[in-house]
């Protein structure tokens, strides 16, 4: 029992990170209909910026504190991500407005390779680490309930808390502020939003900035767990099956889809792996996405597409 719970919790914590990246996808897709393939590259770029800035800033400014270094690096990286995201929107996607979805997808594919390469050019291409100063000692909980209790990694818990906090902040922003309302309106119906005077351009700029910021949070948390390296961008692409499972147009779908996939792949690896063979964790998400596409193409929470014939 204790082991099973450990697997479940581990899966959910990995899932939270998928949710974060998927959230970036869904926000942009809902607001502008652009399927932003570059979200994974943005995660890598943000993680690189964070890791390197946290390394450079103390040297440059001559201080020792790890907390201060991380804090400054985070704020600076956030600014950089906002600028990068707006740059993509302004320079690449705005000139292509009203083009076919495929054209936009190809454009973001181009942006992906550009960001991957350009990021390594300015930040370097080694493996870097983000040290958030969390102790790596596992935490033992519920020791008196089960034999052996449940072992949890402190950094996993911190990661989950950060991700949950971000989701809560975004939810409040979308539900309670006037800008959030305008964002939801644009996501719901472009034409109507324009006719009541919501400027689409400004909304897109905001959405891209928010997506850049979620990329940074995902990159930071993931980078601190696994190290900042190129494979982060590929890992972030797991958000694709997540949005297929959850539905392209649903924010709760992105969150629940992420948790489902994180949980599913861990359980599959641990319990089915010995039967089918290892490496299940790598393709489980895509298999699940395929199954969902066959049964429910709009995803679990997506809008069902009904066409009048």
């Amino acid at each position: 029992m204790g082991f099973f719970l450990e697997v479940v919790l581990g899966g959910l914590m990995a899932g939270v990170l998928y949710s974060l990246v998927a959230l970036g996808f869904v926000l942009i897709f809902k607001a502008s209909g652009v399927f932003n393939f570059a979200q994974g590259a943005m995660v890598l770029f943000a993680a690189l910026a964070m890791a390197r800035l946290a390394e450079w800033l103390p040297e440059l400014l001559g201080f020792e504190s790890l907390l201060l270094a991380n804090l400054l690096a985070f704020v600076l990286a956030a600014l950089i991500m906002v600028v990068v995201a707006q740059g993509i929107e302004r320079l690449v996607l705005r000139p292509l407005v009203n083009q076919e979805g495929v054209t936009l997808l190809m454009a973001t594919l181009g942006v992906t390779y550009f960001l991957d390469g350009f990021g390594q050019t300015i930040w370097g291409s080694d493996v870097y680490k983000i040290d958030l100063g969390l102790s790596k000692d596992p935490l033992l909980v519920l020791g008196d309930l089960f034999e052996g209790g449940i072992l949890l990694n402190r950094d996993d818990i911190a990661a989950a808390l950060i991700a949950v906090a971000l989701v809560v902040v975004l939810a409040i922003f979308f539900q309670k502020t006037a800008t959030g309302r305008a964002l939801r309106a644009v996501a719901d119906d472009h034409q109507a939003a324009q006719s009541i005077g919501i400027p689409l351009n400004r909304i897109w700029v905001i959405v891209w900035a928010v997506a850049g910021f979620t990329a940074l949070v995902a990159g930071m948390v993931w980078g601190s767990k696994l190290g900042v390296q190129f494979s982060l961008a590929i890992l972030a692409l797991k958000a694709l099956p997540v949005v297929i499972v959850g539905g392209f147009t649903s924010v709760p779908g992105a969150i629940i889809g992420g948790l489902l996939i994180g949980l599913g792949e861990k359980l599959a690896e641990v319990y089915l792996g010995p039967i089918i063979g290892g490496g299940l964790e790598n393709w489980f998400a895509y298999g699940l996405a395929l199954a969902v596409l066959l049964v429910r193409p709009q995803g679990l929470f997506g809008e069902r597409i009904i066409d009048r014939v």
Binding site: T177, D189, A192, Q194, L200
Partner: protein
């Protein structure tokens, strides 16, 4: 009728022509709209009524002609710019934000009146909160006016059609428009709903002095509530005048009843 005074011309359309490729939607159409009046555009299906409304609201840019709104010439318009000039509209096939509540839908109509920036809103307390409360009060008055209080928090997609039409009107009213465009506000309604909607349209015009341009199929409604009527057929203007005037126009009768060739 009430004591409202019909004023100066606020919208003047001169020789508007609009074509989509080879299809002529509107040919050389001119008419004007006076302040505080209810102006109807009627015509058979495919006459170009919705195209005309889309030209006024800036969705379509006509190839020829002039739009003079409150003394200003508008040649290349877009919907956002016209909204900023005080032109609000409703849609024939509803374009509400279906996943959002009635209140949120109407509040989006206040977007152009919002003055706080995104950082102030993110902080929430202070100016953003005061502003939100102020706009909320305004929207609550609209909700009272349209008698949709019980549905305030209901997602619009779940409301019956007639009520959705009212929310659409409410969202347009939240913009405090000086010119309100209604695209078939009573389409698909039963008699009772039509009566309600007619009353709202008249009340808006009467209480707020809003100038209204409306498209409607129901002749009875049009003749009852409008001050002047423009009749279109195949993209051309075939009649213009008071309801009585238009009713006795031979071209109009032919267009509606058909004519032997």
């Amino acid at each position: 009728m009430s004591n409202r005074k019909i004023g100066e011309v606020i919208l003047d359309l001169r020789n508007i022509s609009l074509a989509f490729g080879g299809v002529k939607a509107l040919t050389d159409i001119s008419f004007d709209v006076r302040e505080h009046e209810i102006r109807a555009i009627i015509g058979p299906n495919g006459a170009g009524k919705s195209s005309m409304l889309n030209v006024i609201s800036g969705v379509y840019t006509p190839q020829q002609g002039e739009i003079i709104y409150r003394g200003e010439h508008h040649t290349h318009t877009d919907p956002h710019a016209m909204a900023a000039h005080g032109v609000a509209r409703t849609f024939q096939s509803l374009a509400l934000f279906k996943g959002m509540s009635v209140l949120d839908n109407i509040m989006t109509g206040r977007t152009l009146k919002m003055r706080t920036n995104i950082l102030q809103q993110a902080f929430w307390k202070g100016p953003a909160e005061r502003e939100e409360i102020m706009h909320r009060e305004f929207c609550e008055r609209i909700i009272d006016f349209l008698q949709i209080q019980p549905y305030r928090k209901t997602p619009v997609g779940r409301l019956p059609y007639g009520l959705q039409k009212r929310v659409d009107l409410g969202r347009a009213l939240a913009m405090e428009p000086s010119l309100l465009l209604l695209d078939e506000p009573m389409a698909g309604m039963n008699v009772e709903e039509k009566q309600d909607m007619s009353r709202f349209v008249l009340d808006v015009n009467d209480e707020f002095g809003t100038t209204i341009v409306l498209i409607e199929h129901d002749m009875g409604v049009v003749m009852d509530i409008s001050d002047r009527v423009v009749v279109l057929d195949y993209g051309k203007k075939i009649g213009d005048g008071t309801p009585d005037n238009v009713r006795s126009n031979q071209d109009v009768i032919n267009a509606y009843l058909g004519v032997a060739h």
